[in-house]
């Protein structure tokens, strides 16, 4: 995601990471763009994104419930944005470990909302927890926990 266009935007905002503004660039392309992920809100250490319901993203042939795969992608992307938001700048991160508990299936034709909170940030690692729901934050669809690493510019796989 550290493509030149985005870097120009980040520089234009003087390095500050504004999730609402930058989501237009971060969510419009690639896997996130294909899924149609949308920005919903953010706080000091959290970002909330939404995955709209779509017929070609369902988990069972003939069913109408979103598959679990796109929910992992939603949670992963919200996690990355919560890290940049807390850090106050955009820096590429790699997911190291991600755990998702599927508390219950989402409702038929329901969009899923995920809120990820970066509760601990060091120079190279970020710890994130979060949850997903399909309308009522008190009735969860999934919970998550993840660890992310900042990518060094010269790392072989960066």
């Amino acid at each position: 995601m550290a493509r030149p266009a985005l870097q120009r935007v980040v520089m234009a905002t003087q390095g500050a990471f504004d999730p609402g503004f930058l989501s237009r660039f971060l969510l419009q392309r690639g896997h996130s763009g294909w899924l149609g992920l949308a920005y919903r809100g953010h706080g000091e250490d959290w970002v909330e994104l939404e995955l709209p319901w779509r017929r070609d993203l369902v988990g069972e042939t003939g069913g109408e419930v979103l598959a679990s795969g796109p929910i992992i992608s939603l949670i992963d992307m919200a996690s990355g944005m919560s890290i940049w938001n807390r850090r106050g700048e955009f820096a590429p991160v790699a997911t190291l470990d991600l755990r998702v508990d599927y508390v219950r299936p989402a409702r038929r034709r329901a969009a899923v909302v995920a809120r990820a909170e970066c509760y601990r940030l060091t120079r190279s690692a970020a710890f994130v927890r979060g949850f997903a729901h399909d309308g009522d934050p008190d009735d969860l669809v999934a919970t998550m926990a993840g660890v992310f690493m900042t990518i060094q510019a010269r790392m072989p796989h960066a």
């Binding site: 690639g30 896997h31 294909w34 790699a94 470990d97 755990r99």
Partner: protein, 134 residues
């Protein structure tokens, strides 16, 4: 034998294909394309997870078919380890049943690109196996 029609709408839409279906767990594959891209030139962690999870279910379905068991599969959880970046190449995944119980199964899955001995990611999944009528 699992064919492409056995994959979920999501898996087909993402671009997952059955690479090899034999007696055991099928090998699934996906080509690199814009719709799986995260950082430029690399698979999005969510797309890699989707491949792993789909391969895990395919392994479980194959084993249940072999045993003549019919279940509705419901995800309990998944833990994914990302081992190295998935680059702009075709990626593969295959699951292995670690434990098959009456109501739940534990499935291990690995994803790789050129070299199967150097996986790009692995996952452990717990799956609930409900009665088809549930």
């Amino acid at each position: 034998m699992p064919d492409r029609s056995a994959l979920t709408a999501y898996a087909r839409s993402l671009g997952i294909e059955v690479e090899q279906a034999g007696d055991g767990a099928p090998i699934l594959a996906i080509d690199f394309a814009e719709n799986v891209e995260g950082r430029p030139g690399a698979f999005h962690g969510g797309a890699t997870s989707g491949l792993l999870e789909t391969a895990g279910y395919a392994a479980l379905r194959a084993e249940l078919d072999r045993l003549g068991r019919e279940h509705r599969l419901k995800p309990i959880n998944i833990t994914v380890q990302f081992l190295s970046a998935g680059v702009e190449k075709r990626s593969y995944a295959q699951g292995r049943i670690a434990r098959l119980g009456r109501r739940n199964a534990n499935v291990e899955v690995e994803a790789w690109q050129d070299d199967r001995t150097r996986p790009i990611a692995s996952a452990v999944m717990n799956v609930m196996m409900a009665d088809p009528a549930d």
